[in-house]
Amino acid sequence: MSDIINLTLSALINKIKKKELSSQEITNAYIARAEKSKDLNTYITTDFENAIEKAKKFDEKGNFDYKLPGVPLAVKDLFCTNNLKTTAGSKILSNFIPSYESTVTQHLWDEGAILLGKLNCDEFAMGSSNETSFFGNVESPVGKKVVPGGSSGGSASALAAKLTPATIGTDTGGSIRQPASFTGTVGLKPTYGSCSRYGIVAFASSLDQAGPMTQDVSDAALMLDVISKYDTKDSTSVNFKRGDYFKSLSSNIKGKKIGIPKEYRVDGMPKEIESLWQDGITLLKKLGAKIIDISLPHTKYALPAYYIVAPAEASSNLARYDGVKYGYRSEGENLISMYENTRSEGFGDEVKRRIMIGTYVLSSGYYDAYYLKAQKIRRLIKNDFDEAYKSVDAILTPSTPSSAFKIGDKTDDPVSMYLNDIFTVPVNLSGLPAISIPAGKDKNNYPLGLQLIGKAFEEQNLLDISYSMEKELSFKNNLQDWWIK
């Protein structure tokens, strides 16, 4: 059994195709491990009985030509799953059972994957440490009482703890890449418009994007092949020619031009992050890439602009939670007080804060000063990248300004929590693809990640560069399974 859970996704698929392992053996192995790993609090909802049933059916008459033949997977609880509770980590959706399936999860099942269950996340994906979920904090397998990052914290923790061979998360300001960096895993945020947003509980619609979280870069390419498809159900889905990412993977990056933006060298950045970045630069040179110093002058305005744009969109998106058609309801003496009580009791503190910020910046008299201003800054940030991409193919930065911290360390000060996303947010504002790969460890032995940012729709380039780096880095988490009961 320990052999099974130590396999990468692509290795598992090989074994299934060669009939060396059955879907049932694999599914049972992951379920058994999840049962012993409850202390990490990664799952909100498990669907184990159905998973075993589906694995049995796959073994009897499954299609072995599928890309994910009989592979059990758990996914972030932000993706609507038909007939299975979908909570978005919130009390207000704690009893919501969708009557439809999100497009990206449907793609997984259409390629033969089997749903294990729904993974914990920050409430409505608002958070950087998985401490805002109504269903409790998630612990990271990298250390006791350490946060897995957020908002896809349950996904990152489950993946690193080997409770699922791969998973998918969503990334609005760094919610795939930051937790991947904190847990020593690979996280890819595709270009805006690559993966359908249909059926994903909306947070900030102009920024939200689903993407793979995996053990290595080839697994990320494989997952991207499955989930990146044009979808008429999402009005911002883009119909571009997608690559054959997994098959086309190449580790030859000779002559590729990599930009190093000086603005990412922020005040107070720990030495270990600085040297991680330097080592990354040295490695890229060794691999034959050309290093070019670049400037992204508006970088420091990305986070403040994000904290106008994202809450503004969230306040509109979350207006639908009114206790009428679905979700939690608290009674009131009239319609308005029913709304107000429902939303007051149904939403947690961070979500309320962001709804209030959003409502304020969109309110009469403040729209131009805040929302319009932020959209203009957003243009400047995107222009910075457009300018840089005239001379480089990709950009290398650290994924986060620090390694993982302890649960409770940053919950008192919202701004210090927001600063976690300082390196990831500019990418969402510009709609670009970016990947975080594990590249080293800090003094506590917690993982550190490097981020590669690419040109729009050039995921292949990003995957190739990270694939070639990964081979040389040979990062290992070496977790001690301390949480197993």
Partner: protein, 95 residues
């Protein structure tokens, strides 16, 4: 610029979120520290910049208004917090 308690209560009202005085004071502190951070944007001259409203710079496509999912009435109503089988129910709005 700082946001006072009265404004906090007004925003809460607009947001349809009921808050007591204790919560309002907490929010006053949090929102002021967040807006202090946001004010950095005022240093940037944006007079000649067009706002970026959407990253996917394509026009929205038209499609037929066709029903694709049928017979889910019961399933949809099942998620309603109220017990009534046939309608969504809200507190009385007309006297």
């Amino acid at each position: 610029m700082s946001i006072d308690l009265k404004t906090i209560k007004h925003i809460a009202k607009l947001s349809r979120i009921s808050i007591d005085d204790k919560k309002a004071k907490e929010l006053e502190k949090d929102l002021n520290s967040i807006f202090e951070f946001i004010e950095a944007l005022n240093k940037v001259d944006t007079k000649k910049v067009d706002p970026l409203t959407s990253i996917a710079e394509t026009s929205l496509k038209l499609r037929g208004d066709d029903v694709k999912t049928k017979n889910i009435r019961e399933q949809i109503l099942k998620n309603s917090p109220d017990e009534n089988k046939d309608f969504f129910v809200v507190p009385k709005v007309v006297e």
